[in-house]
Symmetry: D2
Subunit: 359 residues, 4 copies
């Protein structure tokens, strides 16, 4: 990334811009050093209206004036006029993303998607730059097979992002074999309007549709590797229990972990605190200095107190202790709409730039 | 229990009556067919004042007038004047219970305690009548060794009560070997004032002091047996993760279970739905017809909707499904201040009456 | 109401049965001594499906089995087969109620509506039996002008119901002239799904569409009288401020009141505590013994503790004290989905029976 | 304020440093351009321990390392060693502040207090720099009468701060005569541990001890003037209704206002939006550019979305509309722990520096 690059930002469009994750993307991209929002697109219902008019803005950051006045385009690459190469950040619902994201890749966009539609597609990288940067190699296969001038990468489900960041370093050091995960997830993970207040005020909902399967499958993909242009998923048993709790932002997760070699809690803490991505990732604008922070206090991390560090890009880990059944237990916290959604997609786009896939 | 008994209720005193569990005991005992509150006792700070005056009543049921006017006695058996035999329901803090409960047993009271102080004492039954009625046999040892004219039984920790009721029938049918438990616990479990609102509004606290150890140890006691006057704890590995969530009443718990023989979810559901205590337990005034209700809807049980059934004495179970790591997964819900505390102690007292230990 | 009547219940249908108020109506009518649910009707989207299938049941009471199996009829009197006379309880949205309720009245139903559509219509009683029983006289006009074999009465907005019950006795005794009202309203008042959790968790929304106008207008109607077949609204100035707060059930309202004759707080408390409806109202099955309870404790009433009394039909009043600007200040609490909605409509139907309009 | 000043910060001590407001003071003062925390003092219970050890830190900002290691002094000016002049920021409880604050002023400290103890004392300015900068003149009287080398100023109650900022400009322009205020206050206003979660989860508490009296009295002081060295309170009738709601930070207040000359909502909005303090206030480091922001959206301001602007120093106003009883109605929002407490005290200290009372 050179000064020259900085003086000519890469054009970016946001697909599904009026939803909760779309809004967060817009908010984060305003002032981004490398990208510049030049268009917003959404469903037929919103298309043709100004962004300020069509969007029920739910963030505490102010709606950026430049985007407020943009007209919303339909979800059609031809309708989104901008110079290529360009990034298309997708916050589309899965069922819309299935067709729309390939169409944008075919039209030359580098699609960085937060949608679940293509996360398990063989030639689409499911990517967390600190966790599996090597998966970018799948783009060679994608280009060869699809013939797209653009490309498509995805970031994982919000809970999975936190879990994968929390266990990656331990997997490398001690060989992860088994994980039982119990999540306590914030309502912002369900978008807007999402969870009805009557359902969640003073309550727990012990079920989030498709969430447990996503956690189990995506974790194995992220901890796996790419060999000869094919994904080889990690041979890890993951069992997930997902719950919705009355918290606005921040997914808490409790994990019991089994390893090839049993680490002590102290060893695990050292490994986690020292974890960082490869050099090219560490230098990205949205990358945290340390993707994991290990808390010492026995009652931390907590959503209300511990989400903000490193721009919401850092996973908090606490209470590392032996597990009577497996080897270790701990609790984690991830900012589900930052690291686990919008900012995760942006970090992926930054990594594409750094690796030369987008310039 | 005969009509004669009904016409002469057993006198009952409540120790630690001004606290949250003490209040619930008072509220439940007013109108109880077998017991009659004749005294309330509490710490020095409250002693000598009227109950209405000393107590910050936190229940939605009205403070019963008869008890409101009682003078609070100090925690001294000599100060509590009533005919013996009498029951002493204890909602004392653990550190106070340690000395006070034996003193009351020595003074002739049948102490039914919700405190943790004596739950692991070798000759004190830790009792859920539907789960381990045979543990009452420890009272013979207790009498022989201590020479008390009274006695002391305890009920388990609130979370453990729900978990033990949820797995007891499965253990009998399929042989439980391993359990990973993750709890989402209501604030009422911490008493009053208990958890500060600043700590829990819109938040999760991933730690409850001593809770995980209690769940792990007490579950093994409850599923164990008594042999030759000694407790033989169950050979089960339990790993617990405890969390406080912004819910008023109702502890949710997610469990993964491993068995000697793997049941199908359908088999497990049938066994749980058919579970009931022995005959002498089923007929007790506070005993539920079915201690476990299996919910079919995928998003149940929930604290706001599913606590009330069977007077809060029923544990709800839902989402019985295979576990990738162990055998089965499910979610449970227990009313922590009813079944898990005050009403659990009362059920124990009823069982003592039915078994002839108290009359 | 005679024994004969009890042996032959009046058939009742619920319009808008799948919504939150419709569900509460269904739940309250099961087991009602005078009425029997024989049909449920709802919008096209639900019609033709079973109630259990079409309805996302949000109450903690169990869905009654008899109603669960009913097929939902469309909102067409011809499609709802039942003997007449019958009651039609309406929990329809205002815009649907506008046409549908008159159609049911024309088809012979005694429509008891919770909808706002006809609350201000000149010949439709807006009725709280304890507050303005004389408004039933408007039905003579309604029959004369409309020629309906059935009839239409409405109950007020949920907040207004509480306020009117709270001030009626004071108005009679001291002549109410002015009221400033500030409400803190529960989310259940917005129906289901209603308020999004992202909007209200840990938050206050200082606006509820059309609520302030409803409070101001409906209060004047309820405290007015009927003269020569026409409503004469009370000459009272009402200023309302409405807020949504993160409470499930129970609207709190703070009021400052100005009177013709200034009462002392003690006088006002005595008048409020003695308030009760006319004899024919007091004997109705759903009528509370005392529609107002005056709390002595300085921090009451509170939604969590004080909603349940008298089946949710009682308004709680507390903190009666002088107002530096007007004469008196106080705080009130009304169960918005019971007294303020479903049970209010049922009480109106009971009053119609007692007054001979329905038999 | 010159460069010279910046290179030698004024020493500051925080009294009552371990409480919620004390912590906020510590957090805000770290990095302050004019002040430097050199000491922390608290009650006997904490004195002698390190700040990190004695304090249950409840803020999401990290505990500043420099302060973490400080030893807590007792509340005795002799025990707090620092060069004079120095500022003593007081977050003491009222009953402690009564004696302690004068003792520190007598020992040469410029005491800027958030406590209520001396807010109504005749020669102690109750000060919001944008609202009543002229009240600083009372310090001449204070010095003359008390002979203190230091001084004592106070900032108002958290709700009152918001109300006074909201109405000051309207009072100047149109002559305020009457105000009815209804507050919906966050739990952080009660300090830590403060409100028990059992009391406020999903609930409203319609009473806050002494709050209504504080609002009524302090508003009249703040809008009054100083004449011949004496406070002349404003001749305004204020009636307050205070409620606690389950919100973490941010007091909402609904007001009805009566004026000498009735403004239109548009005029009022213009006057409020243009409001700013005198020049010497506007340039203070903590002063907002605009102390009031008028929101256009009908459902704003809201605590979750609108607290952050201008460092929490800005009051939000919305829904300006006619009042049927008085002249205007509107809703306001104030950050109760920033503008309404800690940052308010700091702004007062900055104003003392600017006006030459502290250097």
């Amino acid at each position: 990334m050179t000064e020259a690059k900085l003086s000519a930002k890469i054009p970016a469009v946001v697909l599904g811009a009026t939803g909760a994750v779309g809004q967060r993307l817009v908010s984060l991209l305003v002032g981004h050093p490398w990208f510049k929002v030049v268009g917003v697109a959404a469903s037929e219902r919103s298309a043709g209206r100004s962004f300020a008019d069509a969007c029920h803005w739910v963030l505490s950051d102010a709606l950026p004036g430049a985007v407020a006045r943009m007209m919303i385009a339909p979800l059609d690459p031809d309708a989104v006029r901008c110079e290529r190469p360009a990034v298309a950040f997708s916050a589309l619902p899965a069922e819309v993303a299935r067709q729309t994201e390939p169409a944008f890749a075919e039209a030359g966009f580098a699609v960085c998607s937060n949608a679940s539609a293509h996360r398990e597609t063989a030639d689409v990288p499911l990517l967390i730059p600190e966790v599996n940067p090597d998966h970018l190699a799948l783009l060679d296969v994608q280009r060869a097979e699809r013939g797209w001038p653009g490309l498509l990468v995805t970031n994982p489900n919000c809970s999975t992002t936190g879990i994968a960041l929390a266990v990656k370093a331990l997997d490398e050091a001690f060989g992860l074999r088994q994980a039982v995960v119990c999540t306590l997830q914030a309502v912002s993970g369900a978008g807007y309007p999402g969870v009805a207040s009557l359902d969640i005020l003073g309550n727990v909902i012990p079920w989030i549709p498709t969430e447990e399967t996503k956690i189990e499958r995506e974790t194995r993909i992220l901890l796996g590797r790419v060999k000869d242009g094919r994904r080889v998923d990690a041979d890890i048993v993951v069992s997930a229990h997902a719950h919705r709790v009355p918290v606005v932002d921040g997914h808490t997760f409790a994990v019991s972990l089994g390893f090839d070699q049993t680490p002590s809690p102290q060893e695990a803490g050292r490994v986690l605190g020292a974890f960082c991505g490869v050099d090219s990732v560490r230098r990205l604008p949205s990358a945290p200095v340390r993707p994991v922070r290990v808390f010492e206090d026995v009652d931390r991390p907590q959503p209300r107190l511990d989400l903000a560090g490193e721009g919401g890009m850092r996973v908090g880990i606490g209470r590392i202790r032996p597990c009577p059944l497996l080897d270790l237990r701990m609790v984690g916290l991830v900012h589900n709409t930052q690291r686990g959604a919008a900012a995760g997609a942006i970090l992926n786009a930054e990594f594409l730039v750094a690796e030369g896939w987008l310039r």
